[in-house]
Amino acid sequence: MEPISSEVVDLSRLQFAVTALYHFMFVPLTLGLTFMLAAMETVYVVTGRKIYKDMAQFWGKLFGINFALGVATGITMEFEFGTNWSMYSRFFGDMFGTPLAIEGLMAFFMESTFVGLMFFGWDRLSKPAHLAVTYLVALGSNLSALWILVANASMNVPQGTHFDPETMRMQFDSIVQVIFNPDAQAKFVHTSVAGYVCASMLVMGISAFYILRGRHKAFAARSFRMAALFGIISTVAVITLGDVLGRLVYEHQPTKLAAMEGVWRTTKPPYEPWLAFAIPDDAKQENDLEIGIPFVLTPLVTHSFTAPITGMKELEDQAGPRISSGIAALTALKAWRASGSASDLAAFNAHKADMGYGFLAARHAPGQDVTAIPAGQLDTVVNETKPDILPNVFVTFWAFRIMVFLSLWFFAVFAFGSYVSLKNRLERNPLLLKLCLWSIPLPILATEFGWITAEAGRQPWTVFDLLPTYLSASTHSVGYMLFSLAGFALIYSIFIAAELYLMFKFARLGPEEHGAHARHDDPGHEDGLVVALGE
């Protein structure tokens, strides 16, 4: 088979990155807004105050715009696995396809079905029934995220699967192991709750805009308070789960962790500083202009004061024996497929754990065939392969830092916002209100940088330690990839423009267009649970 050209691999990566990052501009708001709508509607059902129904309907309209575009941009990505990543799909499809199929059949159908009821059922369903529908929409959208993140976790920390030398692909073993993969758990909660932060900032920012303009004050003050409280707890949860994920990366993906922290040499605990600023130089394998906080890195990453963090240079050296073993695995596998002999199979099984490193070495072998490496050239190929195990350190390091710094900013904004709102002093703090307004896009930006950290840091693998990215793409031409990339970029940009236009339009119109609600001192009463219980 002809080797896949590196240009096609790079363009396939770029296309997936572009479509995924576009798609993920819509997803987090969907994840978070649904539960915030549920919170607003819960208050409406409990208190019977109509203003909370207005809130659920108004913010629900913004959710609807976002949901429609999120679905449209998400569907193409599932097809991309087949069109642009056919080698990956063949190798890992049994494993990866299962959670994706469950997502489509269970979560997405559930979410889509109940979305219609949520929008059009206000006058047709009883209050508790409509509330239940809203919760089911929230659950459905987050279950969609669950299955996608389960699939993603299986690429980062493969579990519940094994390589079958007969079929030459990963076979699915256990759905339970796949679902309860620790990486899937932490990643799901981290991502879902990051969506809560995005939704909180959107609601808080637009509410701040109304308060600054002196419009819809009762509506905006309640929305602001709910969003600020929603946001502050969610931000704490995101940071906590970020720490959990970091610990998992330390255990399972040492190259990614070292790149995230810019650790070139194995650390000497406990002094090691956490680098707040540095310019990692991938070529020289060192950092320039380091500014760090001493004694923070070791406990932050390892949760101890004594455990070292292996540096990238040492990880390269440690990879040498695995690359040699991987070459031996592929050589034995080829021999076994030709001869069927038990000794060849035994030789393969002895080196099977390092097979992925053999694939990685194939890039430097004649015709990408490790069995064609002349005996005297083996060490050269191993040495040439060693640097390939590292991701792009500059990108991983800074994507991670931007996400971390933004999360600290969100904590400050939500904490201050909650305090001022609880004191009913929002109007006396116009600076805070302006900061909230201008911070609306930042959580979405943070989630994008989170994904860049996770996926750029996973390189050079599509399936960590098993399948290199350069072997995963389809055998398209460069022209085809450029044309389709330009098409996606154009169409998705139109989607973004449509989303922004509609969001701005409806946010500017405000809640009164959706039914006038009562004044600040009389938020309106209908029968609610509190009323029914004799308030």
């Binding site: 607003m40 409280l229 707890i233 909650s418």
Partner: protein, 63 residues
């Protein structure tokens, strides 16, 4: 309270307990997400109810 309602609530409680025991053991972070999301929704809602109470006690146009 009628018997079917009681039985329904009892069944929900048993399912919730089984869920907590199994998921809490096998998937602690999934369990944390369920509990945490409920808590976030309730605290956020409580904040809104508190605002209504504050406005009733101290009526003011300021927010």
């Amino acid at each position: 309270m009628r018997l079917p309602t009681l039985l329904g609530l009892a069944l929900t409680l048993v399912v919730a307990l089984l869920f907590a025991v199994f998921v809490g053991d096998q998937g602690p972070w999934y369990f944390a997400w369920v509990i945490g999301t409920v808590m976030i929704v309730l605290i956020s809602g409580a904040g809104a109810v508190l605002m209504d109470a504050q406005n009733e006690q101290n009526p003011s146009e300021e927010v």
